[in-house]
Symmetry: C2
């Protein structure tokens, strides 16, 4: 049996992005960074209609790209997000940090009655100012981040808010959008996930297709 399919990596990317640009409604996205973000997020999930659920704060995409270029660290809520970041695309060999498996997290979570994902966000605080945050899994991480900002934690350069699921995902993303002056990149509703969050980082990291 022989299958007729495109076998070469660059050709697959090129064809994928061409299909996305021919099918998706991308008119409302600013050229360059925002459009690239939309294309890569669609590419990660296979759904062109997700474009309608994207909510980008003005300037957030450019701020995220500039922060990465200047060497900002990337905080991820899940190992899957961290492992979806293409290291070769990062402009400044940026640190990719996931604190979820920090040894202090399980006991803290139990003591405070929180998820490990929420507790892990507290460990970002020292380097949070000007960083790029990518949340692709846990609504509780995003809620906890907003509480930390309210407690006086410094603002990241860019907050990728893309937790997925049925409990708190849509609500945490609405709260992020409504929080004053957050530089947010959001997929509204229940959809989201680690692949979309990693794709957003990869889009901010480099203009290479």
């Amino acid at each position: 049996m022989s299958y007729d399919y495109i076998r070469e990596g660059d050709a697959i990317y090129n064809r994928s992005f061409a299909i996305i640009r021919s099918e998706a409604d991308l008119k409302r996205f600013a050229p360059s960074v925002e459009e690239r973000l939309a294309v890569r997020i669609i590419h990660a999930c296979g759904m062109t209609d997700v474009a309608a659920d994207l909510a980008f704060a003005p300037g957030a995409a450019e701020a995220g790209a500039a922060a990465l270029a200047a060497g900002a660290p990337i905080f991820c809520d899940a190992q899957m997000v961290a492992h979806g970041v293409t290291r070769a695309r990062l402009p400044a060999n940026n640190e990719v940090i996931c604190t979820l498996s920090d040894p202090s997290v399980p006991a803290q979570a139990k003591a405070r009655g929180l998820t490990r994902s929420a507790v892990a966000a507290d460990l970002w605080r020292a380097k949070l100012g000007g960083s790029v945050v990518a949340i692709g899994n846990a609504p509780t991480t995003l809620f906890r981040l907003l509480e930390m900002l309210d407690e006086g934690a410094p603002m990241p350069a860019c907050i990728i808010g893309m937790p997925v699921g049925f409990v708190g995902a849509a609500e945490s993303k609405d709260a992020l959008i409504q929080y004053p002056n957050t530089p947010h990149l959001v997929v509204r509703g229940r959809r989201g996930g680690s692949a979309m969050a990693a794709a957003a980082i990869n889009a901010l990291a480099s203009a290479k297709e």
Copy 2:
């Protein structure tokens, strides 16, 4: 500012699964393993309508669960899939193997004009018989696996076929379904991804909710 949300991990899982079971049409799935698979795949993507795209070969879910219980290795096409597998759920401390970063892969891919994802599948061959394969990213891995079976490679116990995207994803999954006697668990169409593939492994691994 204070947010009203469920903060405790087990409570979030319970509520999520209750919402999924109340909203999704799961009647056609066999009790126990198939139903659990459907629920966890929906949970991973936030979309109840993905249930309609699930194609499970008769007995494949049970075969996958039995293989894991007996200690079968798990082959993943991407690091994101491997990192989505919850190690604590695995019944036999099963090996989770991703050969994509094997040092031989880049040169082989270049020499053969294939993707690294396709070449990486060739490194599964020695332990492929009776294994559990989880493909959540690359259609070329799935096409290459089918070619290997055609070349005489031994059949896995279960093939989770869930690559995502616009070029080859739907086609490779249709080819898997049509290939004779494959024990497949598929999300048809463009949708899929590493989170769904990892969720399928996690469902096969344990009956724990």
